[in-house]
Symmetry: C3
Amino acid sequence: MGNKMTVIVFSGDMDKAMAAFNLAIGGASMGLEVTMFFTFWGLNIIRKNSAPVAGKGWLQKMLNRLNRGGSQRLPLSRFHMLGLGKWALGQLMRQAKFPPVEELLSMAKGLGVKFVACTTSMGIMGLTKEDFLPDVDNFAGVATYLGDATQGQVNLFI
Amino acid sequence: MGNKMTVIVFSGDMDKAMAAFNLAIGGASMGLEVTMFFTFWGLNIIRKNSAPVAGKGWLQKMLNRLNRGGSQRLPLSRFHMLGLGKWALGQLMRQAKFPPVEELLSMAKGLGVKFVACTTSMGIMGLTKEDFLPDVDNFAGVATYLGDATQGQVNLFI
Amino acid sequence: MGNKMTVIVFSGDMDKAMAAFNLAIGGASMGLEVTMFFTFWGLNIIRKNSAPVAGKGWLQKMLNRLNRGGSQRLPLSRFHMLGLGKWALGQLMRQAKFPPVEELLSMAKGLGVKFVACTTSMGIMGLTKEDFLPDVDNFAGVATYLGDATQGQVNLFI
């Protein structure tokens, strides 16, 4: 049985992104081969913070204006309160010396965690490779995910 | 170790239902024996679109009026915006030639994915077998789920 | 391959807590060694119902006032409706003779399910051991979780 671990990151919420990276970093530190599959709202986490609004046609533009993406723009799943809750949690994380999402992402990357962006969701949302951070290792679909997941037993959907 | 895969579908959101079916279809295409366990809000996905309001007594009726069910009535987990966001996403899916939930459901079924409806949730919500699509293979509880899950390693909760 | 099962309980929603305990109870009844890892909003489920507002400094106090915790204070993930939806679901559970969260927690405990509280989240939120029920077996981080998860194949994130 493999020493692989996979995390599907469907959510684009800051708190869930923190949990996902924390698990991935923990796994990689223990010597597991970890792959994170970012799909749907989770794609936001690995989108550039500085990219222009993505998409073609007014519908994709509208969706991407609302759902701009970038690790610094992630809302909280609870108590977001127009950004106030998010700001408060950010402060508490700093006090507890817990790194923000951007840093967790770099730490995961530094430990060899593989980042895959889901091409199916990208197609629907009108996102191209240019919209993503250079940290993304692979642009692929469900078959690639299952290839990894069937070789490990820690497979989570977040 | 088994070649089974299980997906618990707890969520009744359209976007999460898409992810669940996409994974199940991918697994079945690769030759895995896939079972989807629909529970709680996820039961909505396999309820008839045309059924009358389910339940006995005013409380169950009220819940089922709000939470009517049927693959065409699923909200988005984000940006639902009284249906506008859902409509927009539906348009984008059509443009990307990505099938709607009803079709994903049929595709999964056609590939032999097993659908199980959780009887515990049905009891609480006052749902009977008649409220569900004929595609449901089995009405069962957590023991049936665990019987399958312990024989595979790709076990997701969505 | 182990007979372990792990459930990460990230969500603090009543309906998801019910699902988590139901799965854990099912697993323990079948002879699996089940561990539940409570993290982030999920910590609320195992916090005392009667504890004073936790945390140091006004930011932690504010967060903990909003996010008070205790199994009796959990909202629904859908249709909470300022508590009306929750009340209605509670009534339906009583009618269906389905136990409330407090009782599910005791049942899980009685069957030997292990409860672990995530120390990383506790640090950010300013929670101490005194804020938790005596039922908690262990206060630990991601390494402890992965030690268990890599020995079982039913590993869920809720």
